[in-house]
Symmetry: C2
Subunit: 429 residues, 2 copies
Amino acid sequence: MTSVTTTPFDDLSPVLQAAYRARAAAAELAPLPRAAKDDALLAIADALEVRTREIIEANAADIARAREAGTSDTVIDRLTLTPERIRVIASDVRDIVALPDPVGEVVRGSTLPNGLELRQLRVPLGVVGIIYEGRPNVTVDAAALCLKSGNAVLLRGSSSAYTSNTALVRVLRDAVHGAGLPADAIQLVPGESRESVTELMRARGMVDVLIPRGGAGLIKTVVEQSTVPVIETGTGNCHVYVDERADLDLAVDILVNAKAQRPSVCNAAETVLVHREVADEFLPKALAALRDAGVTVHGDEAWLKAGAAAGVEVVPATPEDWETEYLSYDIAAAVVDSLDAAVGHIRLWSSGHTEAILTTDTRAARRFVAMVDAAAVMVNASTRFTDGSEFGFGAEIGISTQKLHARGPMGLPELTSTKYVVTGDGHIR
Amino acid sequence: MTSVTTTPFDDLSPVLQAAYRARAAAAELAPLPRAAKDDALLAIADALEVRTREIIEANAADIARAREAGTSDTVIDRLTLTPERIRVIASDVRDIVALPDPVGEVVRGSTLPNGLELRQLRVPLGVVGIIYEGRPNVTVDAAALCLKSGNAVLLRGSSSAYTSNTALVRVLRDAVHGAGLPADAIQLVPGESRESVTELMRARGMVDVLIPRGGAGLIKTVVEQSTVPVIETGTGNCHVYVDERADLDLAVDILVNAKAQRPSVCNAAETVLVHREVADEFLPKALAALRDAGVTVHGDEAWLKAGAAAGVEVVPATPEDWETEYLSYDIAAAVVDSLDAAVGHIRLWSSGHTEAILTTDTRAARRFVAMVDAAAVMVNASTRFTDGSEFGFGAEIGISTQKLHARGPMGLPELTSTKYVVTGDGHIR
């Protein structure tokens, strides 16, 4: 699908040259045993600690630029690296060392009737492109996960972190090279311009997959413009449905946890739907608890009425509220006539991340699980549990909200493809 | 990613209306137990046999149009349905009934340290779009595989088979409806225009995956224009590498089988690479056997020389030969200096379908398997074995040559996604 193979290397753009070198590095990484990759990861962790000052200095330049540009304190905090934060990043790399290597796992195997031996093995994807915003820790995290799974990585962070990312990637490459692996396994996409992103998105045949990590706008752009296959991550318009047979006190606890324990993340709840049968009892409790947690309710008529009765301010919900991923102390709220009406609402507005039902009725739970189409469905648990670490995967490169290849938290196996190996002794058809 | 959810149904184009109805049908199919789907498949098989005349009459119209347009006999043969062919198609549907249902399979499961019960279940993808050329049997085959795996299907065959496909889909829909399932689970994409294909390719959020089945041109178009995730299938520039330690008589048999047993299919060999150490002995044998099988060799200098010495005509190979998928009685041929040179050639030109090494040396086999990046790697076996039926999968919707989601022959499990179901009793973080 690409003509790159027949174009002289020097005629390629810097981005395609990087992709070309990444392909060559990927070919070297693919057959490596686990020990070689783990040694390189340990070298990375050590180098991050030894060269902390160099990283902090580069980061200071990004922070100064951001301050001049009038960037908000929240965003500057996300951009900021400290010695303590670098120690945590290094420690996360060491945690990845401890995880099993997915490459080489036999996923399926059999001896066919004609004696052919069939094995389906996990193999690296090849070259993974990560397009991300903000936090420079993603640079190290993504590089380490890709290296462990035998993939070369092309990193395209936000231009606001370009100096930090350049320093981090220099440290990573030196460590990888020192461990005897190809430095080109980890590369920053050259250039800060939008064109470099566009080129990356059109490098089908050179880049095997793109994983955008960031806001809905970024992901939409990548999905619409990329010819390289994309894995969508991280948009979470998550719902909590309180069934007519829910334990209402538990339901209040779960709702508050799902919304307010950490509102800025994709697995936080954004809408609560309540069965009409329990609305009279549940709404006052929920309104008080949400108010105490600092949450503003954007409610339908039933919630507005309950708010007025309870003396809690409720903002009238508009259709936009049903599709909004607030990522803040806000929640949309509606009363529904039935479980099926809740499912209908969710099917219409869900981003396919995580949906929760709170009920003591096994039939209701079964029906909700069967009818709701999402990466994760929670029964009597907070939406906040959809997370690679909570699921026991050890690490995650993101949470896929699409259905192809990987769905839900993506650990190391999700960064692999497979290859069939068929062994015979002269078999013909 | 789509605004379709907020657009009134009547304002949607016919293609999007079809997709919308398919989505609704998919929601009904998803929770169905196997028996309900198998009953509908049996009803389809019966209906195809009962209504054979109606299908043949519609097919005759397509054939007449094709003859008027001066279509070649080969293509008309592919388009043609006969009572016997319809019986075979119905029998293939009954074979799908016998296959296990992938939906509901627990792929992974555990009880987390906090007591949450985690299960990863196979679920249907949702709405599958198939864009295909020629043979009307694909219409039934694709519909049956999608139905068995709980997916709704949007079929876009070639306009040359539009009348046949319309009749077939009418029969399928009646059978599905008669079995109590939603007829909209199987739909022909309305309209014969190119615009209907374009609309299908841009229906992200409504269509979950597109599988183009056909020539390289079709697949390239879909890959470049589609915002719906695509699974590439079927381009096979397959290589046979004869190592310095190959059993040369077996190697000749495998080479001839790989090339000539059925040259028109994607797993046929298109290039043979021979280690220089065995060229003097192998080339004359291979040239004679390929000539006897009716195969024209497009050779490099060594093959040209061997041809001249053996009195077998060899066509000089051009760079285009290395990338050509002939699908005919032609083969490109080169001599290489080493296994690594063979791997280098293959990495440059392979379409990632099937690559074979013929060797008695376990180290060479291991290295080739590790270094070659393809859906299937054969050791001492013909490339022709890469096939869902040969692999024991019972049926296939195509052979994926990409790395995401599915690679190699795609059976029923490859038509599914997964969903995490997490059950607790009031768990919060």
